[in-house]
């Protein structure tokens, strides 16, 4: 027999506290009131008092509203019928179609044993040279895009989604503006991939607790597909909103903040989501690309900072391009040694020269005389930006490598590039006149 409780003692923030017995930690409850109903999760049991985090928030909640406990933790359906569907952060249909109740799977379960993981070793081509050549994306990787608000990060996510050959695409949207949500929906539909996509969308106007649930639902579903051997691409945007939701809730829970108001477990909270990225022995995998907007372009802000310590690199989006400085794919060496023998040398050589070019530009801006070497660097930098870095470049890895050699050959002597002589011998463009 289900027991109903109808006396809530305390209501604060998104948390409601009531007297109840035989309730498990993290159990799901349903709260019903005149305003509608909402799921809630047990976040603390203390003697006979139970604290619930109400997904829909406590606005309008009455102390006399009805609560009953489900007897289990948060569950969500896992079936092939999920494909093409759109849900809210608490798992309700957002597309006006039916609710799914088959094959319920617990959300937020234990983590994968490291001993069963495989090393990621397959490149994911994106046809963006700043990724493919300089910071190769690898299947099973977790990689955020660090961006100041206003950069085309969602466009970049969408472009990767359409280009990467994933079996399943899952989008977790947190705090999205409504038109961002529509943008993703339209892009997936017009790109012809909606039938193998699933969206979990929390918009800026939805309750804050649902923002925290969004990545968990997305990743649970991703994990189930990966266990079936599917290659899943998960796109999470914007994880800064997720972290801010955590902050808001921990402050109402009166937890002692560690850094700029964020809870002390921010690292662990982010890590438990990002660490879902995996490659299994059966060929299934989860690759996670996320967006972390940097308040005030400050990478030392707790959200990008903690993220950087968790993920396997990051792409900095600046002035509409992936900036080679600071951007890093930490798994690139798993794959770039077996693409083409000049891949690593080009990757290092071009960036070192480009970095010198940037120094030279600064010197020039300060009015210093330019040496012959400086002039070379400046010309090279301009060419590199327009022919390699630009967002409009869409070309395969090998073509991009060839292009890099061509640019180097245009401005430098082999010895000036710092690239090993045996590679220069092999790839240096032959001068037409000799």
């Amino acid at each position: 027999m289900r027991k109903y409780y109808n006396k809530i003692d305390r209501i604060a923030g998104s948390v409601a506290t009531l007297k109840a017995d035989n309730v498990g930690y993290e159990e799901i409850a349903k709260v019903q009131g005149s305003w509608g109903e909402s799921l809630a999760q047990v976040i603390r049991v203390d003697r006979d008092m139970v604290s619930l985090q109400v997904f829909a928030g406590t606005r309008g909640l009455s102390t006399g509203d009805k609560v009953h406990f489900s007897g289990s933790a948060m569950k969500f359906a896992f079936t092939d019928d999920l494909l093409g569907r759109i849900f809210t952060g608490s798992g309700e249909p957002r597309d006006g179609r039916c609710e799914l109740t088959d094959n319920l799977v617990e959300v937020g379960g234990p983590s994968v044993n490291p001993a069963v993981r495989l090393m990621p070793n397959r490149m994911i081509p994106t046809n963006i040279p700043m990724i493919d050549v300089f910071n190769t994306l690898v299947e099973g990787q977790k990689l955020p895009i660090f961006s100041i608000p206003g950069e085309p990060y969602n466009e970049l996510l969408a472009r990767i989604a359409l280009q990467a050959e994933a079996d399943i695409i899952i989008i977790g949207g947190m705090g999205l503006k409504y038109d961002e949500y529509l943008y993703f929906k339209d892009t997936l539909e017009s790109g012809g991939v909606m039938s193998r996509s699933i969206m979990f969308i929390h918009t800026a106007s939805d309750p804050i607790v649902e923002c925290i649930q969004t990545p968990d639902l997305a990743l649970m579903v991703a994990e189930q597909f990966a266990l079936e051997g599917k290659k899943v691409l998960v796109l999470l945007t914007d994880m800064t909103n997720f972290a801010n939701a955590l902050k808001e809730i921990s402050i109402t829970m009166e937890q002692i903040p560690s850094n700029r108001g964020y809870p002390g477990d921010l690292y662990s909270q982010l890590a438990s989501r990002y660490e879902k990225a995996v490659v299994f022995e059966n060929g299934g995998s989860i690759t996670t690309i996320s967006v972390t907007t940097m308040p005030g372009d400050d990478v030392t802000h707790p959200v990008p900072d903690n993220t950087g310590y968790i993920t396997e690199g990051q792409f900095y989006l600046k002035n509409g391009a992936i900036d080679p400085f600071g951007s890093l794919s930490r798994l690139k060496q798993q794959v770039n040694g077996k693409t083409r023998d000049d891949h690593r040398a080009i990757m290092d050589g071009c960036i070192q020269l480009y970095s010198q070019c940037r120094e030279t530009r600064e010197k020039k801006a300060m009015g210093f005389e330019m040496s012959a070497w400086d002039e070379k660097l400046l010309k090279y930098g301009d060419a590199f930006e327009s022919e390699i870095m630009s967002f409009s470049v869409n070309t395969s890895l090998f073509e991009a490598l060839d292009k890099c050699w061509e640019i180097l050959g245009r401005y430098f002597e082999p010895v000036e590039t710092g690239i090993r002589s045996n590679l220069c011998d092999k790839y240096w463009p032959k001068k037409a006149d000799s």
Partner: protein
């Protein structure tokens, strides 16, 4: 003997229970979930009849009124032959067995035997019946990989005991009795090859502690030459994310001249552990010809595994290391990252509602860090052999700013500081150890004065470079410009080392000394350049020549060719060729 209590509060991974009877601080307890699954926990505070416990598992499903079984044993590890090559979680569960028995996920409540109880070991007694022994005295030995694994009298023994019985040479499992000891009161004790030790209590039984005096060769030039580490010493590697802390530790785990490496992956990426688990069985240890996994133990509590077990994992790792030091080996612990351990402390301290210190870390953070590093050391064992435990910890400071409690607390206690800089990793100058910030209190493989001479170019070069940013190249004298070029040259061909090049990845001491002398010759040389462009060109060529030298195997005749060309040039001979 255990005491039963009842849960009164569940707050994330902290559970409070009400108990009657005696309980011990840091004792292990098990919270019994509704479905019978027992979740391992540790008592961290006692208040009257209330005990607060950190639970090493997800507490989902625990209820008020659930039973708690409180043991009398402190959180301990099992010690004995067979630990090497294992991959454990922070509570010493063997993860590979766990995968076989439990499946893909780390389902709570599964605890497996750390050591294989069926495997037989060839035991050879080294003591004799009638011998008088104390704790940690040798009774016999078995061969574990290439090591003589001494089987010792239990570490917990008090006073002197006589060997009553000793197993003859033969093969035994770790649970077979191999000796019986008796003390003057007539008490007897059966001894096997295994014993347990509480992780929070340092294990060190020795004649005396010695000052570290032998360099630990890492084969990284910048470390061995400029910021050396010694056997039995401690060093820390702070750095912002992506600066290369983990890679530096991984390189060290592969190339360091040490008997045994214990890698403590503490709250970091699972993928990094996987790399070690999957690669070490196939990588050769050039010193022994065996695989690297045969000199490695992995203790892994990665960032998505429960936080309380993360805190205990560093203690598990260091206790295993102390044990092998006791066996007689030189052991290196690589802890990545001690900041995650400190954060775990912080989380628990917050739940205990302790008064927070800086950045909400508990007030005892500093003493906890220093007690951890104090467990390192070089010792003289009971039998006179020397053995050591070296500890390296990475630190992940928030925002990459070293002025934070964990970095500062660590700097106070370690013997060497290898600070990684964002600027160097950004410029891909790896290993990104900042040569102007870092320090070491130890002596290395090259004479101090020579090192200081080379090092002096770095600061001067940096100053000149900064000056050049203001006054431009034309405002800089050619002499100064050459000093700047020399410092860049030293950086490029000596400090920087390519971890992904087969040859350059590891530079043996002999090769380091040789290269150091060659590089010093260039640094000492008085160049006579007409223009800065000429100077720059020459240094381009010198750098390229030396780079190729670094990529050429030791003993290859090509090395000599490159050297001769450089010598020739320095002696006023012919110009360097473009592609040396």
């Amino acid at each position: 003997m255990s005491v039963i209590g009842k849960i009164v509060t569940v707050d994330s991974n902290m559970v409070t229970a009400q108990v009657e009877g005696n309980v011990r601080q840091n004792a292990v307890a098990y919270c019994k979930r509704y479905d019978g699954v027992k979740l391992m926990s540790e008592i961290i505070r006692v208040r009257g009849d209330l005990v607060d416990m950190q639970v090493f598992e997800l507490t989902r499903g625990l209820k008020v009124g659930d039973e708690v079984e409180i043991t009398d044993e402190m959180l301990s590890v099992e010690l004995g032959p067979g630990l090497i090559g294992m991959v454990y979680d922070g509570l010493q569960n063997p993860l590979t067995d766990m995968a076989k028995k439990v499946g893909i996920f780390l389902e709570p409540g599964n605890y497996l035997e750390p050591l294989d109880k069926k495997r037989k070991w060839e035991f050879e007694p080294t003591a004799e019946v009638g011998d008088v022994v104390k704790a940690a005295d040798n009774l016999g030995k078995v061969k574990e990989n290439i090591f003589d694994h001494y089987i010792m009298a239990p570490f917990m023994l008090k006073g002197e005991w006589t060997v009553e019985k000793l197993a003859p040479k033969g093969s035994y499992t770790v649970v077979d009795e191999i000796a019986v000891l008796k003390n003057s009161e007539g008490e007897t004790r059966s001894v096997t090859m295994t014993q347990r030790w509480p992780v929070r209590i340092p294990l060190g039984i020795y004649r005396q502690r010695l000052l570290p005096s032998t360099p630990m060769v890492t084969k990284q030039r910048i470390i061995d030459t400029f910021f050396p580490v010694m056997l039995g010493g401690t060093y820390c590697i702070p750095g912002p994310f992506g600066a290369g802390k983990t890679v530096l530790q991984q390189i060290t785990s592969r190339h360091a001249e040490i008997d045994l490496v214990i890698m403590a992956a503490c709250g970091e990426r699972a993928g990094e552990v996987v790399e070690t688990i999957r690669e070490f069985p196939h990588l050769k240890d050039p010193r022994t010809g065996r695989t690297l996994i045969e000199r490695t133990i992995i203790v892994s509590n990665t960032s998505s595994m429960p936080v309380a077990a993360r805190e205990s994992s560093v203690y598990t790792a260091i206790t295993l290391a102390e044990y092998y030091r006791q066996v007689g080996l030189n052991v290196l612990v690589l802890a990545d990252s001690t900041s995650r351990w400190a954060q775990a402390l912080r989380e628990m301290s917050g739940r205990l509602e302790e008064i927070p210190g800086e950045e909400a870390f508990p007030a005892y953070l500093e003493s906890t860090i220093s007690r951890f590093y104090e467990r390192a050391g070089m010792i003289e064992l009971n039998d006179g052999r020397h053995a050591s435990l070296t500890v390296s910890g990475t630190v992940s400071p928030a925002g990459g700013n070293f002025e934070e409690p964990v970095t500062q607390g660590t700097l106070k206690v370690v013997g060497a500081f290898l600070g990684l800089s964002y600027a160097r990793s950004y410029a891909r100058r790896f290993p990104a150890i900042d040569p102007l910030e870092s320090w070491s209190k130890y002596e290395g493989i090259i004479d101090n004065e020579k090192v200081a001479f080379a090092h002096s170019f770095l600061a001067r070069g940096k100053n000149i470079n900064e000056m050049m940013q203001v006054v431009g190249e034309e405002g800089t004298s050619t002499d100064d410009f050459v000093i700047y070029l020399k410092s860049e040259f030293l950086d490029a061909v000596y400090l920087q080392q390519n971890a992904y090049d087969e040859v350059d990845a590891a530079c043996a001491p002999e090769r380091q000394r040789y290269l150091f002398d060659l590089v010093t010759r260039v640094l000492e040389h008085k160049f006579d350049f007409a223009t800065k462009d000429e100077a720059r060109k020459t240094f381009f060529k010198l750098t390229e020549g030396f780079r190729n030298w670094n990529y050429t195997p030791w003993g290859d005749p090509k090395l000599k060719e490159i050297e001769e060309e450089v010598e020739n040039y320095l002696a006023g001979g012919k110009e360097l060729e473009a592609n040396a």
